[in-house]
């Protein structure tokens, strides 16, 4: 185990962490604003990836145009999901929303299978994004660097929106207390819909990057990354955006190191490790690393 190997693992951890972060932020915002664990959020990754594939290969749009298009499509999907499924049951017990989100998730997966078949497809991004770059003694693809750089950029943009703009103030007010926010003149429905849109847009971008990084996509691809991003959000403290980012990078690193630095016998226990971590965090630190104590969880 030499220096290059360790550096390589660090970079892999960063990439995975960045991808988780893009998804986890959405989980965290949605949870923060209406206390909904939105399992359908992971499927947005799949929708993002397939939209990218459609636009790139079928329509032949240039790559720089595809990125905003994918984000817009996914943001639209997020708004539709919110309007169709979650708005009618706002105010119902938390578990109801949770079951409904599982339902939406299963529905999207199976719509994917129905319309696109379960066959995995090759995902090809333009050749220049796959070019290998050497930094010191570590080689990685251009897309890896793009992921590592763009993810934090998006995070910063999101934090600026949440903390500095009028819309963001509305979001924070709604998260604090929905009814009072409405009394203060916040358009609660619009704010919640936009929260879904932001979260879904970022998840869609994550889907684009996921496809570009791993090269194969299928209708069930979004589920496990979605679950793990949720775990990352829980580790960081659900409801807190910086927490979700921190949790994602920690989880990404931990997962890569678990596979990279332990004997290979253990690497197939990767998922068990991640989910075991979830249970432990929920029990020991129910509010996560940076979360506020909003309610009783354990």
């Amino acid at each position: 185990m030499n220096f290059e190997y360790i550096a390589q693992q660090l970079i892999n951890g960063l990439i995975l962490g960045s991808l988780y972060a893009l998804v986890a932020v959405g989980f965290s915002m949605i949870y923060g604003i209406i206390r909904l664990i939105n399992f359908a959020h992971g499927e947005i990754i799949m929708i993002g990836a397939f939209t990218t594939l459609g636009l790139l290969s079928t329509l032949g749009l240039p790559f720089w145009l595809v990125i905003p298009a994918v984000i817009l499509v996914c943001a639209g999907t997020g708004i539709i999901i919110e309007k169709a499924a979650f708005r009618p049951m706002r105010g119902a017990p938390q578990v109801t929303g949770f079951i409904a989100s599982l339902g939406v998730s299963i529905m999207l997966q199976n719509l994917g299978i129905l319309l696109l078949t379960a066959q995995p497809r090759n995902f090809s991004i333009p050749a220049y994004a796959q070019k290998t770059v050497k930094i010191g003694s570590v080689t990685c693809q251009l897309i890896d660097i793009v992921i590592i750089i763009t993810a934090p950029l998006f995070m910063v943009m999101l934090m600026v929106i949440v903390n500095k703009t009028r819309l963001g103030r509305g979001m924070r007010a709604t998260a604090e207390n929905l009814d009072v926010a409405r009394l203060m003149g916040v358009n609660v429905n619009r704010t919640i819909a936009l929260t879904f849109a932001f979260g879904a847009g970022l998840a869609g971008f994550a889907g684009l990057m996921w496809g570009g990084k791993f090269g194969q996509i299928d209708p069930l691809m979004g589920f496990v990354p979605g679950l793990k991003s949720f775990i990352a959000a829980v580790i960081g403290g659900v409801g807190s955006i910086p927490g979700a980012i921190l949790g994602s990078y920690l989880l990404g690193m931990a997962e890569i190191w678990f596979v990279g630095f332990l004997p290979p016998v253990y690497s197939s226990y990767r998922d068990a490790f991640v989910f075991g971590l979830l249970i432990i965090v929920l029990l020991i630190l129910p509010n996560g690393l940076l979360g506020k104590n909003i309610e009783e969880r354990a």
């Binding site: 664990i37 499924a85 119902a92 938390q94 578990v95 339902g103 199976n110 249970i279 354990a298």
Partner: protein, 336 residues
């Protein structure tokens, strides 16, 4: 004779269904008989999930994990001792020699599942609301990973196959009756009322002297026992077990049955399981004929969402529509 006496109703239903099954076994072809067996197994699973989720309001999604534990245990216990060394060479030798008959194996499978529920219940049941759901999903994933990787016992992703086809409609029906009877006895006893009061208001229940931790664990463990039995029946019906079967999709399906029927209602779970299974089976030929895989799942998910929006309590709410009077004779009230 009082016609609203639940036991008479249960006995009558049992007799009628037995007669129908006796007729069906002779009149109906194998395909429909198999579907009926799946309906029965799903009734067992949904009713036992209802014991946990419906009565106590704990939201567990880990039911397939208990099924898997019960199923694998039953399968290993009934595995022919002659074939075992060839098939599972790395199995511990004390397990190799065991070959049980079906019933004790099922019961042991259920007990192992219940014991697991006790062990994981102590930490996991401290979680509340949807965090408990997330915790049980984590448990389900962990069980899945373990089944895939402990290949000396489970043969990993290959799974156990060639199990003896012990399960028939009568075994399933027997357990349907048992699980319904046990649920019924629990629901209309002081024990079940304690569970239901917990669902309605935990703090008030605790103030009435109900031991919440004990109740939660018992609800999970009783549900897990029947899930384990259901898993054993399942294993010997399709004669093969793979880790992938016990996925979150299956958990979701069971939740749909309970929610559609009305969580808290035994009748609801039974009806939910029947509706669900028949829908899936009606759509199967359509899916295969037109290559429209996934239609049934999409429609069921849609049904679930529509029910959650327009009738969040499900078809039957928490009630049992026939039989029992709404103010049952409460026997345990003479405590002083």
């Amino acid at each position: 004779m009082h016609w609203k006496n639940p036991y008479i109703v249960i006995v009558c239903i049992t007799l009628i269904v037995s007669a129908l099954l006796w007729g069906a076994e002779r009149a109906v072809n194998d395909y429909i008989l198999t579907i009926m067996q799946f309906v029965g197994i799903n009734i067992i699973l949904a009713t036992s999930l209802n014991l946990t989720n419906g009565f106590t309001g704990l939201f567990s999604v880990g039911h397939p994990a208990f099924m898997a534990i019960g199923g694998y245990t039953t399968a290993l216990l009934t595995f022919p001792a002659i074939k075992a060394p060839l098939f599972l060479p790395e199995l511990p030798s004390w397990l190799l020699g065991i070959e049980m008959s079906f019933l004790p194996a099922l019961v042991i499978g259920g007990l192992v599942a219940a014991a697991t529920a006790f062990i994981i219940g102590v930490p996991i049941l401290r979680l509340k609301g949807h965090y408990l759901a997330v915790g049980t999903i984590a448990f389900l994933v962990i069980v899945n990973v373990l089944l895939t990787n402990m290949s000396s016992i489970t043969r990993g992703p290959l799974g156990l196959n060639g199990l003896s086809p012990f399960t028939n409609i009568w075994w399933i029906f027997l357990w349907v009756v048992v699980v319904c009877y046990v649920s019924w006895r629990i629901k209309f006893s002081s024990y079940g009322r304690a569970m239901i009061s917990m669902r309605e208001n935990e703090m008030a229940a605790e103030c009435c002297g109900i031991n919440l931790a004990h109740m939660r664990i018992m609800a999970l463990a009783i549900g897990a026992f029947f899930a384990g039995v259901g898993g054993g029946l399942w294993a010997h019906l399709i004669t093969a077990l793979t880790p992938n079967t016990f996925s979150l999709i299956m958990a979701f399906n069971l939740v749909v049955m309970v929610v559609v029927g009305g969580s808290g209602s035994i009748t609801g779970s039974v009806v939910g399981a029947i509706i669900f299974t028949t829908t899936i089976e009606i759509f199967r030929p359509i899916e295969e004929g037109f290559e429209l895989y996934g239609v049934a799942e999409v429609l069921l998910a849609l049904l679930l969402i529509v029910i959650l929006i327009f009738r969040p309590k499900g078809l039957f709410g928490t009630k049992e529509p026939f039989s029992i009077p709404q103010t049952p004779k409460i026997r345990n009230i003479e405590v002083s």
